[in-house]
């Protein structure tokens, strides 16, 4: 298939908007040809997953765009970096690694990106609208934008997310196009007594991620979620165990008012039943330690805690009042943190062990004081990646279990 370029695309490629834009367009064109797109389309925004330092090439690329006078052409948010710029000293890193890692974050700001440094850009003022074309990186953000909001993005990553932002364009292919957003595999929850617990949504996410492959999953029988944070946890889990970029939940998500709508009137390629035992099994596999194991820390907020999640956590902290000094790390976006501070909501919370973390996440960098113990989390994503990334043992439980465990000093689950 040949790629049709607009006059604007050709002018950018020819260098009329400067060398940085020309380079971004050249890379975008090569990518678009490789995926078989017929043309490029305009995007309304971008989210860049480029602030974690993985080597010199990543930094050299951004520096070269800065030198070439590059500016993003659409509102562009940034994913987490390796540092908490709000709380200096929280991340422990040798100076030789720190300088380039910090520079990577600030160089993106010089391109005109917003200093959001959050993996939940959909819960900031940059949240896209239904049907909007966007180019996003970060797996949990992609699945939320597509599924819960109905915005349209493919799974963009390394370099190409930034090339879309610099050009305001994306290849017209994949999930940007209506016909490719059709559900393909049906997951049925048939147990009528399933309660909409936080763990249920994580469990469903883990299972559909594992079993969908590259097909778009549709979930029927899912209890109505309390709030969008439960769908956020489902999507994050699905994008952890698999490559899910879009799911539909019948009568819940915006492109699935009915089963027929979710499948565009076609028949599911496969139907998979999810039982309570399947859910228990998927969740049990997240924990590498038994109940009663001594606890070193709690980590919440992967993806970054929303204001609503904080409003559930803070009364719980006051009620349970953990007093053993076990740190309770909560990853959140800096805008959410500022709002909480303006509201005075965090006053006195450090007495319960609360340590807010902004701009980064406790599993991508060295924040935790102790790595030799058990860390409890309410995040399926954190539970999956943290053992490999930072070498901790993990216990999974819902938010209340995590806080009660911090108070008890060991893992307790299911107490009410």
């Amino acid at each position: 298939m040949t790629l049709e370029l607009s006059a604007g695309d050709q002018s950018m490629l020819g260098g009329e908007q400067g060398p940085a834009a020309a380079a971004a367009m050249k890379i975008l064109i090569a990518f678009s040809k490789a995926v078989g797109a017929a043309k490029l389309l305009d995007i309304a925004g971008a989210h860049i997953d480029g602030c974690l330092y993985h080597g010199k090439a990543g930094l050299d690329f951004v520096e070269r765009l800065v030198e070439g006078g590059g500016r993003v052409l659409v509102p562009t948010t940034l994913n987490v970096g390796s540092f908490d710029l709000i709380h200096p000293g929280m991340v422990k890193m040798p100076a030789a690694q720190e300088a380039p890692a910090r520079r990577l974050m600030t160089a993106h700001l010089e391109l005109g990106c917003q200093a959001t440094f959050t993996c939940a850009p959909y819960q900031t003022r940059f949240r896209p609208g239904f049907g909007e074309q966007i180019a996003w990186g970060e797996s949990n953000a992609i699945v939320f934008a597509n599924s819960v909001i109905g915005a349209r993005t493919n799974r963009y990553g390394d370099f190409i997310d930034l090339c879309c932002a610099m050009t305001g364009r994306a290849p017209a292919w994949g999930l940007h196009l209506s016909e490719n957003r059709r559900g393909q595999v049906l997951f049925e929850l048939t147990d009528p007594d399933l309660e909409p617990s936080d763990a249920l949504f994580v469990g469903v996410g883990l299972i559909i991620g594992q079993a969908s492959g590259d097909r778009i999953p549709v979930i029927s029988g899912l209890p109505r979620p309390r709030d969008e944070d439960q769908l956020k946890a489902l999507g994050a889990a699905a994008a952890t165990t698999g490559a899910v970029a879009l799911f539909h939940a019948v009568d819940i998500t915006p492109e699935a008012n009915t089963l027929e709508e979710a499948f565009h009137g076609m028949v599911p390629e496969e139907t998979i039943r999810i039982t309570r035992a399947d859910l228990d099994d998927a969740l049990a596999r997240l924990s590498s330690v038994p109940d009663g194991a001594p606890l070193a820390a709690v980590s919440l907020g992967t993806p970054h805690f929303s204001h609503e999640e904080w409003m559930r956590l803070l009364p719980l902290l006051r009620e349970v009042a953990p007093g053993r000094g076990i740190p309770i790390y909560v990853n959140t976006g800096r805008a959410t943190l500022t709002r909480l501070q303006d509201e005075g909501a965090l006053a006195g919370m450090e007495a319960f062990g609360l340590i807010p973390v902004a701009d980064t996440c406790t599993y991508v960098t060295t924040i935790l004081e102790r790595l030799d113990g058990v860390v409890m989390t309410n995040s399926g994503k954190w539970a999956h990646y943290a053992p490999g990334n930072i070498g901790v043992s993990v216990a999974f439980g819902d938010m209340a279990d995590c806080i009660r465990s911090a108070a008890a000093g060991h893992v307790v689950r299911g107490t009410r």
């Binding site: 040809k33 010199k56 990553g157």
Partner: protein
Amino acid sequence: MSKQDRQALDRTGVFQLAGEAQGSALVLSQALSFWGGVDAETGDIIDHSHPALGGNVAGRILVMASGRGSSSSSSVLAEAIRRGTAPAGIILERPDPILAVGAIVAEFLYDISMPLVVCDTSGIVSGDRIAIGINEDAQAMVSLT
């Protein structure tokens, strides 16, 4: 192999990134993800689930059906090209957007053109001496030397 037999294996392909290269073929039966699969410091294949574990891609003409896996492979390939631990060239059966981005970014940053070619790979076996060239129509020419 006679000269005639070798010439019978010559073929043309499409460049995802144009360039010239020569080297010994490393033919993989399974697609290799550079992220989690190749150590950019050494070129070693480090994916424990891959049959070529323990091999090394540096300076070889890497031949496989397709790319695989995370978009972070773009960064790993670009970093390997920068360090000189990347393959001399890559030949694929199907175009791969992630490897294309890595190769193009490396050329943009470091002026190193690691050719990425899409063509029929049948008949190529590991150890064949392969040359990738450019013909007058800007197509890739893959030949056994």
